[in-house]
């Protein structure tokens, strides 16, 4: 296997995630796209860990998974709060701070 196989796969996933974050209006779907980005990063970390035969890549992938779990919990709580206040999770309507 080549290192680039994994890096390019992760680049594709990352770009699909960026597309999702930019295009989606629904708060839950934006959070799903962020998960795609975080998973792409994890593939990179583990691939470089395998390249250097160092366990550090895996350890940091595990930390990323833990932080992503925390992020999704808080993110969904915020989306829930937006829904409760505005009866909609359309993020383009959450523009109270717009001048």
């Amino acid at each position: 296997m080549l290192l680039n196989q994994f890096l390019l796969l992760s680049a594709v996933l990352f770009c699909i995630g960026v597309y999702g974050v930019l295009a989606r209006k629904n708060g839950v779907l934006v959070l799903m796209s962020i998960e795609l980005i975080l998973n792409a990063v994890n593939i990179n970390l583990v691939a470089f860990g395998a390249l250097t035969a160092d366990v550090g890549g895996e350890v940091f992938a595990l930390f990323t998974i833990a932080v992503a779990a925390a992020e999704v919990g808080i993110g969904l709580a915020i989306v829930l709060l937006i829904y409760r206040n505005r009866r909609s999770i359309d993020l383009s309507e959450a523009d109270l701070l717009k001048g």
Partner: protein
């Protein structure tokens, strides 16, 4: 192109690994595209399961069993269920989501493609034909030794972060 030449000239390494890699990668990319284009939120969550399972499979190909198992437990087991709860609690129209029709896709697709072009060029230039030799899987004891010796401070910080996130989520989402 040297990258493709190096990939096809790999007679000495196991072909099966490459075949499985390609198979899983294509499924993952298709599922990821469905996650960001489908108009049904529940379907998007289910396509996300496929992507996450594919990532776990790639971890196994890379010889990281423990990360793969954690991926299945945390992501497919917990995060996707959390997403489905989010969909349920916000009643984000279990059928087709009306906000999808209002998406401005052109600019986002342009940014995504541009980003991919830049990254792909840089990656192919830098790591032309670096081989990845996974002789044996990384054992769980090695990983745990590293976590509980060298990275113990980061580990404790992550546990405090998880506690803070738990309390924060309750405080933010509580009704009163």
């Amino acid at each position: 192109m040297s990258f493709l030449a190096a990939l096809s000239a790999d007679a000495d390494i196991v072909v099966a690994q490459n075949v499985f890699f390609a198979f899983i990668a294509i499924a993952m990319i298709y599922a990821a595209l469905r996650v960001v284009t489908t108009s049904n939120v529940v379907h998007a969550a289910l396509w996300l399961v496929l992507v996450l399972a594919g990532v776990a499979a790639q971890f196994i190909l890379l010889g990281s069993e423990f990360v793969a198992v954690t991926q299945v437990l945390v992501y497919i087991g917990a995060v996707v269920v959390l997403f489905l709860f989010g969909v349920m609690l916000t009643r984000a129209s279990l059928g087709d989501d009306e906000s999808v029709a209002k998406e401005k896709r052109g600019m986002a697709a342009f940014v995504g493609l541009l980003l991919f072009a830049v990254m792909a060029t840089a990656l192919i230039d830098t790591f032309e034909d670096n081989r990845l030799v996974v002789e044996q899987p990384q054992s769980v004891s090695t990983v745990s030794d590293a976590i509980f010796s060298k990275h113990i401070v980061a580990f404790e910080a992550v546990s405090v972060l998880l506690l803070a996130a738990l309390i924060g989520a309750i405080v933010v989402a509580r009704k009163d």
